[in-house]
Point group: C2
Chain length 459, copies 2
């Protein structure tokens, strides 16, 4: 970072002092030396009373860029403090996709005020994007892109970019369409710059275009940016008409949000991309309690099974003390496998048709891991349980560990794929649910093996 840039807390201190001294010109100078995202971060931590004052100090364009980066509650606070003139200034500078993001978070009366200040064309675009489902390509696209015609020359194209480019989200990929708005090809500014001025667009445009449809899943769209390294991706309707573009920065946001959502689902929570600190304890509890209740009640099945084998553990009480080890290992084995499969499915590296291959692989891994665990566990038992029949204990626990590892890795390897086939989110089949299911199985395996080995006459 450069010297004249400060950390958020340094900025905080210096601005507070400047506010006290009423040196607003200097505040403007200090703030404008920062990126919009950093100014938004700083404004989010200042006194809400100061927020509108500091925001008004920013130059118009920077103010709009900063506004986009703020949290929705601060945006709402500002909109309520804005005059109609100020609101129009900010709204005028917004890109359509950013306006949609803001509108989605605002209460109805604020939305009305915002829409009143947008021109009819923009309002149409906003309403169109709002109509697409939350997780679709349409919902993350923008309608501000540069279109060219195939019969234009490079120099005419540059003229058009110079004329219209300032209002477009990206100018680096231009889309070539016919009169019916159907997508014919694309040209990058790089290609334009490296071609003679009189070349026709027709001659240099790429025609093997990868595009997405408005209703495609936004996660798949984001993964295409990862795969192909595009700056933007065209969104078309059923008639192959260009209706919008998705840009790489939105794809990065989607990738981060989807990873966060998956990680939260994998830990038995309802997914949210709200800030941890700005979410109330009640809201957090609400996101967590349903899974906790469901898993708690499911765990009672394991309890009922243990109860069924009361005779076994009252005869040999030491067996009970091995339960946490067996169930814990089963849970860990299962969550390892399910994690690999869930992530592989999310990144499109694993497909449902790969299931037989996965079963074979997980079975081999289970045998290797189970055997090693049994051996180490056997050694530990012979060292620590000299007085309580180590041979019996190590045979029972060893066989149980292998059996549990196999069941756990089979369930972990297949349940996420079955979820995907049933159109459920594979991330639901992660550690907590697998652990609960495996607990039940492993306790049954353990006591049945114990009862069986007891008949050998070594207990």
């Amino acid at each position: 970072m450069e010297e004249n840039r400060m950390t958020t807390s340094e900025l905080q201190e210096s601005i507070e002092q400047l506010v006290n001294e009423k040196r607003f010109g200097k505040i403007r100078e200090v703030l404008t030396a920062h990126e919009p995202a950093d100014i938004a971060l700083f404004l989010g931590e200042t006194d809400p009373q100061l927020l509108p004052i500091l925001f008004r100090i920013l130059p118009k364009e920077l103010a709009a860029e900063t506004f986009v980066e703020m949290d929705s509650n601060e945006q709402e606070l500002l909109i309520n403090a804005f005059s109609e003139r100020e609101l129009k200034d900010v709204v005028d500078e917004l890109f359509v996709d950013d306006a949609v993001d803001i509108i989605e978070e605002m209460p109805a009366n604020v939305v009305k005020r915002i829409l009143r200040h947008t021109d009819p064309e923009t309002r149409n675009s906003i309403n169109e994007i709002l109509r697409y489902p939350k997780d679709s390509a349409g919902s993350i696209m923008t309608t501000e892109y540069v279109t060219l015609r195939p019969n234009m020359t490079v120099s005419e194209s540059f003229d058009k970019i110079r004329r219209t480019g300032v209002d477009k989200e990206t100018i680096y990929t231009c889309y070539v369409t016919n009169q019916n708005r159907q997508l014919l090809g694309l040209v990058s500014v790089r290609d334009l710059l490296l071609s003679p001025y009189n070349t026709s667009i027709n001659a240099i445009m790429a025609t093997n275009i990868i595009s997405v449809e408005t209703l495609d899943d936004r996660e798949n769209v984001a993964n295409m940016f990862d795969k192909y390294d595009f700056i933007s991706l065209p969104v078309v309707d059923k008639e192959y008409r260009l209706v919008g573009i998705v840009t790489f920065d939105d794809a990065i946001d989607v990738i981060q949000e989807e990873a966060t959502e998956d990680i939260q689902k994998m830990s038995a929570m309802l997914p949210t991309d709200d800030n941890y600190f700005k979410t109330s304890a009640w809201k957090h509890a609400k996101n967590r309690i349903m899974w906790l209740l469901f898993l708690m009640l499911s765990a009672t099945i394991t309890g009922a099974i243990i109860q069924k084998y009361e005779s076994a553990f009252t005869a040999i009480p030491i067996l009970v003390s091995f339960i946490p080890m067996i169930t814990g290992t089963g849970g860990n084995c299962g969550s390892q496998s399910s994690t690999m499969i869930i992530r592989g499915l999310a990144l499109n590296e694993i497909k449902p048709r790969n299931m037989p291959k996965i079963i074979l692989k997980e079975l081999t891994i289970a045998l290797i891991c189970g055997t090693i665990l049994s051996i180490v566990n056997g050694i530990r038992i012979f060292i620590m349980y000299q007085g309580s029949n180590p041979l019996f204990l190590s045979i029972v626990t060893g066989l149980s560990l292998i059996g549990t590892a196999i069941i756990a890795k089979m369930l972990g390897g297949t349940l996420p794929i079955l979820a995907k086939i049933c159109k459920l989110d594979p991330a639901l089949m992660a550690s907590p649910l697998i652990t609960t299911i495996v607990d039940t199985c492993s306790v049954m395996i353990f006591f049945n093996i114990a009862l069986w080995v007891m008949t050998w006459g070594i207990s």
Copy 2:
């Protein structure tokens, strides 16, 4: 997608047929209609014998772009099949950062062959990047960027871009440096296009530059792309000399890889970004067994505690059947909290100094969740355990659930932060380790509460 594009398996079939018919011209036509990433995917699934033949059919530039997208074992297979001439053709077309990625995965003799075909300047760049630690900004940067001087005009800048741009990874952000290669500012092609030709770069360049240093953590660098929406980010040395740039596509790769690594660590595995299917069962088992062993042995502590309370559960055997519910709920509560904190730390939304706030929030959440769980559990016990003293059981399990929820959420909320403070990876403090620790605590809480409530005379 456009009509003439096929899925990998369709492509497979049609190419196989064309190979049988020896129609190589047609194969070239079919393949060149696809993106390099898709061709690489297809080649990765074809017969290794056919691989060099199909690869040779590709036009030179597309061949190099496809080569970059392939898995390292296929790259190695190809390099071994290449003549010196063919190898030089591919190497000549590689960007420096891609060359580094390939070299890092190759055995020493192949690396020597590759380096022999690079010109001295590129070889120096490659060696320089190879010197940076694996997780640093330096290791993901490229040295191919456009530099301008402050006294150039816009039209001179376009001349330079046209002259040198073809070999640069991005031309959309140009970097302005002085004679000592120190970074003075940056200019986007957008700014150039929207300015008159005779404007001097000095007048339009941005000077508040966000840059990173060569040794900065690559995850932080990637998060800056998420925050600021840059196309590229300059990498400088201690003397503020420009040594490279990181582009958004590399940032996307890092974001995906870091999310995968975190998810794997959070499920008690050594992280790897190798393909699931191309990794042998032995390698998978190796990545998983250390944590399984460690957690299995840790779980024996819980076992030992249970053994200590043998008198309690032989007196009231039904208590044993509640152990899975108590430990399971504790594990789930703990992993919910640790997940929120680990992800928040990874995205820089949570800082170690927020610990007091987090403890307070998690404590409130634990009380809310614990109380609800206790009530539901109490109702269940009164319905299902009419014959076995439901009052005693529901008090013991209810208090245990609240106590366990508090301990679990405290541990889950603080251990990842303590790990971060101790310069360990917070992702290690995820579900499996938290579950094992919480198991021990919850069993102790449960039996102590049981023994205490027994003294009330209601058992």
